[in-house]
């Protein structure tokens, strides 16, 4: 508060500004592009390697359009959940309850009551039920986290227990078989030779990409995840936005539940077991920051495809689930370590 060092201070800044300008020439727009495609490129290379292994070990059985469809069908359900998870994680949260929500939605939309209504009216009733239940669970999560101040990990852990319990109670632990022919027919179609659920996956990914990269909602998600205080000061209703994010992932779970119902022709409280871990793994491998503020839909899709292709290659080679589990763990660690190394290198040079 003295008046002497005053002139020195601003002058003193010149050097730094310039030096930083020098240092920062690099990570301009181009570099960013480079680094993010760089990351995706890494994932594509990994996927490519997996495919090469698949072709070598399983030959035509792997390199086959039907097999590609098999992989995509397998990827579709967990893929849709992972897209939702990408938003939540980018927004600085986490959702452990996705698998349980999938189970609850699948059960709810296949109860006798729902199916009767669907038969009487339209099969979309079932879709509506699943999406509403999913969104509702997400809403509860979101309210607890944003307004109740419960940390996401705990709030969604509680939802995990409750939603699966509820699914078991409603279904009485029975597998509920779909007997709405219109529903089954609608999902049996294969426009352009591609199964409906794969179309849904493609559609959800595309919408997710646009939503994250091209809309105010997406930009605000990055802001909320990257610096919630700044977002608040910028006039973003951070709490409401957080609620929306959890509703979004809930809706994705509802969609995934419908896909699973159509695929297995059943609703069951055992659907979606451990989806939370698979989805989080795919999202993180994809390059979304677990601490929020950076997210990539393309990365997530690639992450999902890598894990699905992995299990396909293992199955084609008659390898055990156990070995697959070990390899999966290794892939996660290696991928994250590599990402870190790359990030560091681009920092230093």
């Amino acid at each position: 508060m003295s008046d002497t060092p005053t002139t020195s201070a601003p002058a003193a800044d010149t050097a730094r500004v310039e030096r930083e300008a020098r240092r920062d020439d690099r990570p301009g727009r181009l570099a960013l592009l480079r680094s993010s495609t760089g990351h995706n490129l890494g994932l594509i290379v990994a996927l490519g390697l997996l495919c090469v292994v698949g072709v070598i070990t399983a030959g035509d059985r792997f390199a086959d359009i039907d097999n590609a469809m098999t992989i995509l069908r397998l990827a579709a359900v967990i893929g849709v959940v992972s897209i939702g998870m990408t938003f939540v994680i980018t927004g600085g949260g986490i959702d452990l309850s996705v698998g349980a929500i999938v189970a609850l939605s699948s059960v709810w939309c296949t109860t006798i009551a729902t199916q009767t209504m669907a038969n009487d009216n339209h099969w979309l009733v079932m879709v509506g039920a699943a999406v509403l239940v999913g969104g509702g669970c997400g809403l509860v999560n979101g309210l607890l986290i944003a307004y109740g101040g419960v940390v996401p990990f705990i709030a969604t852990l509680a939802m995990l227990a409750s939603a699966r319990g509820l699914a078991e109670i409603i279904s009485e632990r029975r597998t509920q078989i779909v007997s709405v022919p219109a529903f089954s027919d609608a999902f049996a179609k294969e426009p352009l030779g591609i199964p409906i659920i794969v179309w849904i996956f493609i559609l959800v990914s595309a919408i997710g990409w646009v939503l994250l990269n091209r809309t105010t909602f997406g930009r605000r998600t990055l802001a909320v995840g990257g610096n919630p205080e700044a977002a608040r000061l910028a006039g973003i209703d951070v709490k409401r936005h957080t609620v929306l994010l959890y509703v979004l992932v809930g809706v994705c779970c509802g969609i995934a539940a419908i896909m699973l119902v159509s695929r297995t022709t059943t609703g069951s409280s055992t659907h979606g077991l451990l989806y939370e871990l698979d989805a989080i793994a795919a999202v993180v491998i994809g390059g979304t920051l677990l601490s929020g503020g950076r997210g990539t839909i393309i990365g997530t899709v690639l992450g999902v495809l890598i894990f699905t292709t992995l299990s396909n290659v293992f199955a084609l080679n008659n390898l055990s689930v156990s070995a697959q589990s070990v390899v999966k763990g290794l892939i996660i660690v290696v991928a994250v370590l590599l990402q870190q190394r790359l990030a560091r290198r681009s920092d230093v040079t």
């Binding site: 508060m1 003295s2 008046d3 002497t4 060092p5 005053t6 002139t7 020195s8 201070a9 601003p10 002058a11 003193a12 800044d13 010149t14 050097a15 730094r16 500004v17 030096r19 930083e20 300008a21 920062d24 990570p27 301009g28 727009r29 960013l32 646009v210 091209r214 809309t215 105010t216 909602f217 930009r219 605000r220 990055l222 802001a223 995840g225 990257g226 610096n227 205080e229 700044a230 977002a231 608040r232 000061l233 910028a234 006039g235 973003i236 209703d237 503020g293 950076r294 230093v348």
Partner: protein, 495 residues
Amino acid sequence: MRGITKRFPGVLALGGVDLDVRRGEVHCLLGQNGAGKSTLIKVLSASYQPDEGEIVWDGESVRLTTPVAAMKRGISTIYQELDLVPGLTVAENVFLGHEVSAGGFTRRGEAADRSRKLLTRLGHGEIDPGRLVGDLSPAGQQIVSMARALSHDTRLLVLDEPTAALDQEEVRNLFRVIRDLSAEGVAIIYISHRLEEIREIGDRITVLKDGRTVATGLPARETPTADLIRLMTGRSIEYVFPPRPERPRDTGTPVLEVRGLAGAGRFRDVDLTVHAGEIVGLAGLVGSGRSEILETLYGARRASAGTVTVDGRKLRRGSVRAAVAAGIGLCPEERKSQGLLLDQAVYRNVTVSSLSRFAKGGFLDSGAERRRAGELTESLDVRPEGVDRAVRTLSGGNQQKVVLARWLLRECRVLLLDEPTRGVDVGARTEIYNLVRRLADDGVAVLVVSSEVEEVLGLSDRVLVISDGTVVHEGPATDIDESGVLDLVMEGDVA
């Protein structure tokens, strides 16, 4: 627009403050650290809700419930802590919260154009709106913050210490913009600790002290400096530096000896020595690399070359533990994030570096811990007393004393002080100066970094001037004055 009265007793940061700002004027807010300036403007921008008091805007009493409501009224704020999202681009940050969009979809081209215009108006057309804000320098980020504030239809612009990260050219630029705005009838609230800026740009001054208005409507150009300081501090003093003891220099081997220290890309060839009982100051520009030198010789950063010797023994590189074991202690620059366990008790913060002293076979004697920490904090006059109090509840100056107490307890041989009085108000500063000198007299070798040249010169026995990562001058503190130091850093920069 007049008559803003505000009371904010929640944490009692503001105890009934009056402030009135007129159209087209630049109104300066002055006050010590913690006086409540930032809190006041956060209330104004509806980032905090007041517990009592009212805001009168254009003659009518308004309730601003959200930051958006304030923005809608035309109140734009540039906060002290940068309020940008590093992961978003410049354009996205500028329009965050009021995105240029059509039906929810961002219109990136238009947003880029408009932010380019704003940046040009601020004299920084060269900043690419598509760049990530995290990649910009602090100065660049400050510009983006300004652009952000101007992106609204602003009638009142609040600037909380906007010049802290700017150089002279930038400041001149900023002032030009401010003058333009006030000529357009926009009211400005300007907060700064730099009095001469206030004299240059301000119209009227309001002084806050301990969350209360002690003076308002003072003419910015005419009020004598001494009056302002008296108003802010409640007394009339300048810094009082303790006298330097007269004794022969460079006796014996130095306690701390640094040879050829370099940190990748940041600084190089740093040689320095500190003797027992000596205070050595590192002067230089903000960002010249002084903190990094300190942290590197402390082992907290990896050195790319060079050696550090304490009492003739070479330290292992890159190991804080080795440094601490050898008797070095560091009071870091960012006290809260680097120095303290904010939620833990005072005594635990004091003893954290000397736990083994209170432990038998790993078991702690916390009674002894409390006693010893109590003695130390008492001798340093840490207030309020009580070693079980969470450090968070202490004021900045007292928190700094807690960090000092930590190293006193360790009886360290070398004390590294990085900005020891940052965020500490005038009175407590003097105490800390005296304390540091007392330590030196007890035989500790002290190395001080401060951005305030006056402080470095006043406190140290010997001064090293750092410019752009190299030592450009070394000599007794009494042989050089402030303008000398400034010349040196400028030259160093040019070279």
